[in-house]
């Protein structure tokens, strides 16, 4: 359907916008190439601002887990003094996770189960496990 503006639209269509600057075009292509080949693949779905926040949060969580895990580890001197080093070593290998570590320690270590629970963590789940 032709309109009164057809010739004007034709003129407008003939105008070519000034090209996107080559550096900007190259940057886009480079970024797509870089990310396609694996760079930053874990955070690919996030933009720059969110990615920084998530990375910070992950780093903080890992650090907290490291500190807490370090505190949970048994002291070597205590293990030797009690004479249960071999038992602990063998049981540590077979531990599926930190969640069961307290239960095993309570069985091997000659102190009260609740004491182990207190030493271990404030985890409600683990405390319940030990009491059972």
């Amino acid at each position: 359907m032709s309109t009164q503006f057809d010739s004007l639209e034709h003129q407008l269509n003939a105008l070519r916008p000034t090209p996107l600057p080559a550096p900007a075009r190259r940057h886009i292509l480079h970024e797509m190439e870089r990310r396609s080949t694996g760079g930053g693949s874990v955070f690919r779905g996030l933009d720059h601002q969110h990615r920084a926040g998530v990375q910070l949060a992950v780093a903080a969580a890992l650090f907290a887990a490291l500190v807490m895990g370090w505190n949970w580890l048994p002291s070597p001197s205590r293990m030797t003094r009690r004479g249960h080093t071999a038992d602990l070593a063998s049981s540590a290998v077979s531990l599926p996770s930190l969640a069961t570590w307290g239960t095993t320690l309570a069985a091997v270590y000659p102190i009260g189960e609740n004491s182990v629970a207190v030493l271990r963590s404030p985890s409600v789940l683990t405390n319940i496990q030990i009491r059972h």
């Binding site: 503006f5 004007l8 003129q11 105008l15 916008p17 000034t18 090209p19 900007a24 886009i28 996030l46």
Partner: protein, 165 residues
């Protein structure tokens, strides 16, 4: 698909961004950010190629608004972006500027109200439908069609005044 999109729509995206930004450098940054934002979001979700240009133009608009909000927080007087640029660099490729008729057409486009210019850009150089433009701008398709007709009428009037048929 994405390389083809950049080749096909890159210049139109830049033209659109230049109308919303203070200068060409900002506009180029906006196009980069917007295009990569769309690419990151949709590269793996099976979006079809015909939908991509509208998503890119919407991302350009969103990115500019986002930047303006940030700039406003830093500096209230920077809110009114986009107007000062228009008297500076040419909108269209230089070979056509030499033609007096096209120079008058570009001058007429510059004088259009921002809303009409936006619709004209998205329709002619973005090759979007009225429905897609409505989605990009958040207006109704009827409003968009009306703005487009007003823009063409204003252009024709200005060209007639300047003596161009």
């Amino acid at each position: 698909m994405w390389h083809r999109l950049l080749h096909r729509a890159g210049d139109g995206l830049f033209l659109y961004a230049r109308q919303l930004c203070r200068n060409d450098a900002d506009a180029a940054d906006v196009v980069q950010e917007a295009f990569l934002r769309v690419w990151r979001k949709h590269a793996r979700n099976g979006v079809t190629e015909p939908d991509l240009p509208a998503l890119c133009y919407a991302a350009v608009r969103y990115t500019v608004l986002d930047r303006q909000r940030q700039a406003a927080r830093r500096h209230r007087r920077e809110i009114a972006a986009g107007e000062s640029w228009y008297d500076q660099s040419p909108l269209f490729a230089s070979s056509l500027e030499q033609d007096e008729e096209y120079a008058q057409l570009e001058a007429a486009i510059r004088r259009l109200p921002v809303e009409q210019r936006e619709v004209l850009t998205l329709k002619i150089w973005g090759d979007l439908t009225f429905q897609q433009i409505a989605t990009v701008t958040g207006e109704s398709p009827n409003t968009i069609a009306s703005r487009y007709r007003l823009a063409l009428a204003a252009l024709r009037q200005q060209l007639a005044k300047a003596g161009t048929p």
